[in-house]
């Protein structure tokens, strides 16, 4: 049997380059539609509230308030507040989460040595809904936290803007399409090589 050099293999693959082109086109088209269907972005956003007793400028209970911040953080993500947020939001068009799902999405994080609490929401599939959820958690916190945990005054800090929203995708559309292109190249190359080898075998016979 005649030995085949690497140059022969590459020449045969190259001769069938049209297969690689078609393969790339097919995979790129398929990955485009897959990306369109499955690559859904998730949105995260956060807003702040301030929790304090008495007058802020007198610093009466500041150290006590700071010490209580981790407790308030737990209460904010507790079902007593989250259920009310869920109930209020259920009237919004496009809201489809359960209270349990919402509990996993909402996070309350105290800022270090401060009475400011950051309330954030992650993995929301709608930009506007992400903002609405954080605003609603802040509103319910303002209304209910003092009754539940004796947090004193709750002041909502600055409004949330569209530009504050972070967008994240596990695989972006371009990443999926790049994978599709590379797969197309590999599969096309493989088919071209096999086709070239078959032709070579036939020529030998």
């Amino acid at each position: 049997m005649k030995r085949v050099s690497l140059g022969d293999v590459l020449t045969r693959i190259w001769k069938n380059v049209f297969i690689i082109i078609i393969s790339i086109a097919v995979f790129a088209t398929a990955s485009y539609f897959i990306a369109k269907k499955y690559s859904k972005p998730s949105y995260s956003v956060s807003g702040q509230v301030m929790l304090y007793h008495g007058h802020l400028n007198k610093f009466d209970n500041l150290s006590g308030d700071i010490a209580m911040m981790p407790t308030y953080a737990h209460v904010i993500t507790d079902s007593k507040i989250i259920n009310e947020v869920d109930s209020n939001l259920s009237q919004h068009a496009g809201y489809h989460y359960t209270a349990d799902e919402l509990t996993n999405m909402v996070l309350a994080t105290p800022a270090a040595d401060s009475v400011v609490m950051t309330i954030s929401v992650t993995n929301v599939d709608n930009k506007k809904m992400a903002i609405d959820i954080v605003n609603e958690v802040r509103n319910v916190t303002k209304k209910r936290l003092n009754n539940i945990a004796g947090a004193g005054n709750v002041r909502i800090l600055g409004p949330i803007k569209d530009t504050n929203v972070e967008t994240k995708t596990v695989f972006s559309k371009s990443q999926i399409m790049e994978i599709g292109l590379i797969l197309g190249l590999l599969v096309g190359g493989l088919i071209a090589a096999i086709k070239g080898a078959n032709l070579h075998a036939r020529e030998e016979h």
Partner: protein
């Protein structure tokens, strides 16, 4: 090699259109100029694709150096020298480059227009002769792709994909950077070169019917009415429309050229312009870059007689230097060898000596 008359005529029309286009930019920059810009650069590449014959890499490279890069270098040198003479010219000359260093940098970079340049900043564009460097690179790329796809199965399909991809790559790069020697334009024009190659393959210039002519004019009109096509910066309101429009414009110009070839005086004048198009082109660039007269004339005429009459006067002025060069360069040794290396080679081939 025997010259094809109608091709020289079309080239002649195109090179005069370049001068008219640049003149109109200074005066009456409207729809007529959009028609000109839609086709005046693509047609040169389409004709080159039409005349393409496969050559060895080395031969193609050497031919390109002799016929395109050497004329470019000489023309750039002329612009630099005339720029240095500006202070002694009684305002007749102008300096394209602010100093010698930027002149060298600008000439080596070969940018055709202002833009964001790769690798360097503050490059002063050399102007219209970007075309020579882009043509040189474009032909090398085209020859490589034609050769490597010669033996593949479904050859024309593969070539179509390759040349279209080159076009997309050139267009996309042009949106970000203007590369040295207008490499982005060289990639974009692969589409036009291949268009010309297919025209030859299908013998299209000999099959132009009235219907095809009408459709082609329609495509050209759509392309022109959407705005300017700038090949050097790979910019257009819609590049796909511009590419299709360039095909339409080329078909119209080819038919027009074939028709004009029948007229003895007009035909032979245009053929001469086409034959010596590189001289017209380079001396037009010298006129634009190094002479102050055109700009001043355009400004004064625009103010005094209005843009329409000013356009005619400025066109006539801009024709003077290139046409004078066309009629005289062939009598000037060395310079004629630079621009017309095929007809007047520096060194006669040894085969001629041996005869």
């Amino acid at each position: 090699m025997k010259r094809i008359r109608w091709i020289d005529t079309v080239r002649g029309i195109a090179i005069l259109a370049v001068i008219v286009g640049h003149s109109l930019q200074q005066t009456d920059n409207g729809l007529l100029n959009q028609y000109i810009y839609a086709v005046h650069m693509p047609i040169f590449f389409i004709l080159s694709g039409y005349l393409y014959r496969e050559k060895g890499y080395k031969r193609e490279f050497t031919n390109g150096l002799k016929n395109l890069v050497v004329p470019y270098a000489f023309t750039a040198l002329m612009v630099i020298i005339l720029g240095l003479l500006t202070p002694y010219s009684f305002h007749i000359l102008k300096a394209q480059f602010p100093d010698f260093q930027s002149a060298i940098k600008g000439s080596l970079y070969g940018a055709g227009d202002v833009g964001k340049y790769a690798f360097f900043q503050n490059i002063q564009p050399i102007g219209a002769i970007w075309f020579l460097l882009a043509m040189f690179l474009a032909i090398q790329i085209f020859n490589v792709l034609m050769r490597i796809t010669k033996d593949v199965y479904h050859r024309e399909f593969v070539r179509f994909v390759f040349f279209s991809t080159c076009g997309v790559v050139g267009f996309e790069i042009g949106q970000v950077y203007l590369l040295p020697w207008s490499l982005n334009a060289a990639f974009l024009v692969q589409v036009f070169l291949y268009m010309g190659y297919l025209m030859k393959k299908w013998r299209l210039p000999y099959k132009i019917s009235w219907l095809l002519l009408l459709i082609s004019f329609g495509l050209w009109t759509v392309s022109a009415s959407q705005g300017f096509l700038s090949v050097v910066t790979t910019r257009s309101p819609n590049m796909l429309v511009s590419i299709v429009g360039a095909f339409g414009g080329a078909v119209c110009l080819i038919q027009f050229g074939k028709w004009l070839s029948r007229f003895k005086k007009m035909g032979s004048f245009l053929q001469k312009c086409g034959h010596y198009s590189i001289i017209i082109f380079c001396f037009h660039l010298i006129d634009l870059d190094a002479f102050n007269v055109g700009g001043v004339l355009a400004a004064r005429m625009n103010n005094s007689v209005g843009p329409n009459v000013a356009a005619i006067i400025v066109i006539v002025y801009h024709l003077i230097i290139p046409l004078m060069a066309m009629y005289t360069i062939k009598w000037v040794p060395i310079v004629r060898s630079i621009y017309l290396s095929r007809e007047y080679p520096f060194l006669k081939r040894s085969i001629d000596n041996s005869k």
